[in-house]
């Protein structure tokens, strides 16, 4: 870990502005890492929030931020040379299977934690990525792998949602009597992840999804991020089908900053303020 304890102040080495909302910050720093893990990003005087690693090499890592609220807007406005605090990495990360029969399903910025995973999976994976419009497709030229795109407006790829393509592919494999997926990985809005999970369940396909909750400590103590009896920052953020089945709060309940349990939709509204 680069900063298990107090945040380590490091310079933003480079910045890639993908579009009006997505920006990647790169740091030239060695960090232990498994795909799916996250760091806490501290902007002194502002706040500290969790971000998944979207790029990783032994000497450099990157996080990709969607400008949404007060904090993320400040984060994407950083310039190279600016100092920020990093704690982590935290969390469990994805369990990587070696099978050629895997699917990766990304929704919007959910691509961030999945990107470093994709490069570790068998090249024959089925890689599906959805976004609002063509412009919001992250990492356009990053992957050698084939990527199946969906957009809400049809400006690129399939007009519709990622589960359309995933369902079709699962159906295809069933019908053709081909080897079914051994694992489906998903990250994106929780409603999307729930749809993926439900789809997989109905075909008895195991999946792993990466959840998001409000976080404080990042290391399993404060309880801010609990989801049912799971602690998202340490038990997760990645959960598998067996865990999701028993997770009453999945796609249903989340805690606000006060600790108040609210329906997930209210949580999203709160985050929108």
């Amino acid at each position: 870990m680069i900063a298990e304890h107090t945040p380590l102040m490091i310079e933003v080495a480079e910045i890639t502005i993908h579009n009006s909302v997505y920006t990647t910050l790169f740091f030239d720093f060695a960090i232990d890492f498994r795909p799916g893990q996250f760091v806490m990003l501290w902007l002194p005087g502002v706040d500290e929030k969790p971000y998944s690693l979207s790029y990783y090499s032994p000497t450099r890592f990157g996080i990709t931020i969607e400008a949404k609220g007060r904090f993320s807007r400040r984060a994407v406005a950083l310039a190279p040379g600016d100092l920020v605090g990093i704690r982590g990495p935290f969390g469990n990360g994805f369990d990587i299977v070696s099978s050629p029969h895997t699917a990766v399903v990304a929704g919007g910025c959910g691509m961030a934690p999945l990107a470093p995973l994709v490069t570790k999976l068998h090249p024959d994976l089925c890689f599906i990525h959805g976004a609002r419009t063509k412009e919001f497709i992250l990492f356009q030229d990053r992957f050698a792998r084939t990527r199946h795109i969906t957009t809400d407006d049809g400006s690129l790829g399939h007009k519709g949602v990622v589960t359309d393509l995933l369902a079709a592919e699962i159906q295809h494999r069933t019908v053709q009597n081909q080897h079914q997926f051994d694992m489906v990985y998903a990250c994106g809005p929780e409603m999307m992840m729930h749809a993926v999970f439900t789809l997989c369940e109905s075909h008895r396909i195991p999946c792993q999804v990466s959840l998001e909750r409000y976080m404080r400590c990042g290391f399993g103590v404060c309880g801010a991020c609990v989801c049912g009896d799971r602690v998202v920052c340490t038990d997760g953020p990645v959960f598998d089908s067996a865990q999701l089945r028993n997770m009453a709060d999945f796609n249903r309940t989340a805690l606000l900053k006060s600790g108040r349990a609210v329906p997930l939709s209210d949580y999203v509204t709160w985050r929108c303020q």
């Binding site: 102040m9 500290e48 605090g85 399993g220 103590v221 404060c222 606000l256 006060s258 108040r260």
Partner: protein, 305 residues
């Protein structure tokens, strides 16, 4: 560890989950219980919705933690789903509460008591907020007053949780006992402290100052429990820096009847409860003693039972 009777209630073992650690919902409280915790404590519940401070709020220093979470709470009357989930529980529950005034303490206590927790713990010791709680814990008269007022409106045993910032913690404990407290819980976080990031040139915690917990405060916690044991005859929940069975033994010897853990979850995971139970049982077996026999053993003269 074997089960113990505490204030008339049966606990499967003498370990307690500290307030503010994980205890944010029924699911996790039950899981901690399943993981070997005899008595789980809820995150302190306040009079009205409160977000707490911005991050950073909790930082691990390696030999302990510093935190200024800022008493976030949904407010006692915005927790319907939680109270409902907890009403069907299969484990004993300690409900921690706080208020900014005596009236608020009473208001929260009365409502919470009706939810039927096994115990109510009054947090008269939290240092993370400008307005809340702390005053009561450093002043004998205030400690007496709030304990007394809460005691009158609740139907379950009352635990007073104290701060090591009190100039004479024994006296505060005595005041709580005199006011009707059924047990003392000690300690809340120590300090307060501050860590400054020298590159950012500012305090790391958004609230600037924070309470210290974990291994580095164990000597302070042991001293407090020792002092309280000499001052009162009600039982003590000893916590502060406990992470191993041997630490628990030390707390018992200082005078604790039950032993709590919070920060230990950072260092050994939720499994720490099962682990400490096992370590404790092994130690007692190896030494041919019972837990009862070592309570207060570090004192020249012990309480006569």
């Amino acid at each position: 560890m074997e089960s113990v009777t505490f204030l008339g209630k049966q606990l499967k073992n003498p370990l307690v989950l500290a307030s503010g650690i994980l205890g944010n919902n029924a699911g996790i409280l039950e899981r901690v219980h399943r993981a070997g915790c005899g008595l789980v404590t809820m995150k302190s519940i306040g009079p009205g919705p409160r977000d707490g401070h911005n991050n950073p709020t909790v930082i691990d220093l390696g030999f302990g933690m510093i935190n200024a979470v800022g008493l976030p709470t949904p407010g006692y009357d915005h927790m319907d789903t939680e109270w409902q989930a907890l009403s069907g529980r299969t484990f004993p529950l300690n409900a921690s509460i706080y208020g900014g005034s005596l009236e608020e303490f009473v208001q929260v206590a009365r409502f919470v008591s009706e939810q039927g927790p096994e115990f109510i713990e009054i947090n008269i010791s939290c240092p993370n907020s400008d307005r809340h709680g702390m005053l009561f814990g450093v002043d004998e008269k205030a400690a007496f007053a709030v304990t007394n007022a809460v005691k009158r409106v609740i139907a379950v045993p009352l635990i007073a949780k104290l701060t090591p910032a009190a100039p004479d913690i024994g006296k505060i404990a005595r005041a709580c006992e005199d006011a009707g407290a059924d047990a003392i819980c000690a300690i809340n976080t120590a300090g307060p402290g501050m860590i400054i990031d020298i590159e950012a040139q500012m305090p790391v915690l958004a609230f600037k100052k924070g309470g210290l917990s974990g291994p580095m405060i164990k000597p302070v916690a042991v001293r407090c429990v020792y002092d309280i044991y000499r001052a009162v005859s009600i039982p003590i929940i000893g916590l502060g820096g406990v992470t191993t069975g041997e630490d628990a033994v030390e707390m018992f010897m200082a005078g604790a009847t039950l032993v709590g853990m919070g920060s230990a979850v950072r260092y050994r995971g939720i499994e720490v409860f099962d682990q400490v139970n096992r370590e404790l049982a092994d130690w007692l077996t190896d030494h041919h003693v019972t837990r009862d026999e070592i309570i207060g053993a570090a004192h020249d003269r012990r309480h006569t039972p």
